[in-house]
């Protein structure tokens, strides 16, 4: 959710952290995939539990449609599963999985020649069902506005911003996912941030301290 992108992740309830109910440490994903590649079939469930909530949120933001996000998530996980045979020991799983998800989304989009529908996403589709406090309501309204601004940006800027601010990737990891340089990712994210600041004014001033 964009609220979290604006630096208030800690304000959200812990129950919003996915079906698995807890956050997997990054290294845990990598270790689980390593075990899966080595032949431990049961480790795939751990890989799924670690990746699915983040990937689903990302895909939901991209597509604005739950059924499509589910289909893309399923395909992404199947690609991860099929790549077991050539998994590189010690490789990071998350940037790779996000790159697959992004490619599948763009591929489908290109075939349809249709623009993403970020503004169609219901804010509560991405968060918990707990009763919202006033700040949360305000934050959700802000998130919808952020969604609209992001939807109007070029895909490269939107992707850089989302990967860093919303998915929690480092600039270097986002550069890997996008297949570009760290400097280019910084520039794209900065431009997206500037566009948000122009569009939303003071509402995004909290971002100032967290620019890449």
């Amino acid at each position: 959710m964009h609220v979290r992108a604006l630096g208030s992740a800690h304000a959200l309830p812990a129950t919003a952290r996915g079906t698995s109910g807890h956050v997997q440490p990054r290294a845990g994903v990598d270790v689980a995939m390593e075990r899966y590649a080595a032949g431990d079939d049961a480790a795939f469930a751990t890989v799924y539990d670690a990746l699915a909530p983040r990937l689903y949120g990302y895909l939901l933001r991209q597509t604005g449609d739950r059924a499509t996000a589910e289909d893309l998530l399923q395909q992404t996980m199947l690609h991860v599963h099929r790549a077991r045979v050539r998994f590189i020991p010690g490789a990071e799983v998350s940037p790779w999985a996000f790159a697959i998800a992004r490619r599948l989304f763009l591929d489908g989009l290109r075939r349809l020649k249709r623009e993403p529908r970020a503004e169609g996403v219901e804010p509560d589709a991405r968060a918990s069902a707990e009763p919202p406090a006033d700040e949360v309501v305000h934050a959700r309204e802000l998130a919808v506005r952020v969604d609209r601004v992001l939807a109007g940006l070029p895909e490269s800027q939107r992707a850089a911003f989302q990967l860093i601010k919303q998915e929690g990737f480092s600039v270097a990891e986002a550069a890997q996912v996008l297949g570009t340089t760290v400097a280019a990712v910084k520039l794209r994210a900065h431009r997206a941030y500037q566009a948000l600041r122009v569009a939303l004014g003071d509402s995004v001033r909290d971002l100032q301290g967290s620019e890449p």
Binding site: G18, Y48, Y56, L72, M77, L78, A83, K165
Partner: protein, 235 residues
């Protein structure tokens, strides 16, 4: 990580659906893949070897170069082909492969490096700078280099099939250049023409062409594709 990763509520039944799909489509573990990769590379080399045998029997006859010239040129070009293969085909330590700058460098610099490696060898044997090659011999060598590179290119493309979600065209260009380097290595054994014009047009230019062919190979073979995504989005 700059911020904690956000989470979303994925449908409860999606997990079981994905795990069921995975169970229905078994994928081999990594140790099986190692054997497969070895077989793919062996077949690629075998194809190049067969083309070489055919070329030795029916190929161009203009040989007569100093043996040391051939040995030095082959040693340098083999070293370059190994480096191009390592940098262009290998993925390094990331599942996303090497950075785009590496791939561009492999595609662009491999032909240049082959030419630069040939230069000191040619200068050491100045007599080799002159020959009677013409357009026909240039064209024959371009085609022969393509023929020698076909096996490695197919092998490299199979190794990287549906594996690159980020920059498959650049990966393909790097694969093409690496395969072209092996084609140049193989063809240099049997081609007796040694003039600068012939080396550039007959041996180095095909590597550039193969890098361009690799772009198409990358787009069609190396790229990771959606299967039912567009159908799903449409629904």
């Amino acid at each position: 990580m700059s911020t904690p990763p956000p989470m979303a509520v994925a449908p409860a039944d999606l997990r079981s659906r994905v795990l069921d799909s995975v169970a229905r489509t078994p994928a081999p573990a990594r140790r099986v893949g190692s054997r497969r990769r070895f077989l793919i590379i062996a077949r690629g080399i075998a194809v190049a070897g067969l083309v070489g045998v055919a070329a030795l029997v029916h190929g161009p006859e203009a040989r007569g170069r100093p043996l040391a010239y051939v040995a030095e040129l082959e040693a340098l070009w083999v070293a370059l082909a190994v480096v191009a293969t390592w940098a262009g085909v290998g993925r390094g330590r990331s599942m996303l492969g090497r950075p785009a700058s590496w791939k561009v460098a492999v595609a662009a610099l491999t032909p240049v490096a082959l030419l630069l490696a040939w230069l000191p060898v040619a200068l050491a044997w100045p007599a080799t700078l002159h020959d009677h090659s013409g357009l026909r011999s240039h064209v024959v060598c371009v085609l022969m280099t393509f023929a020698f590179a076909a096996g490695p290119l197919v092998a490299f493309a199979r190794l990287r099939r549906a594996s690159d979600p980020v920059s498959p065209r650049l990966t393909g260009a790097a694969l093409g250049a690496a395969a072209g380097a092996w084609g140049a290595v193989a063809h240099a054994v049997i081609c007796g023409y040694t003039s600068p014009v012939h080396i550039v047009l007959g041996h180095v230019l095909p590597v550039v062409f193969l890098a361009a062919v690799g772009v198409a190979v990358g787009d069609r073979v190396v790229a990771l594709r959606a299967e039912s995504v567009s159908r799903a989005i449409r629904c």
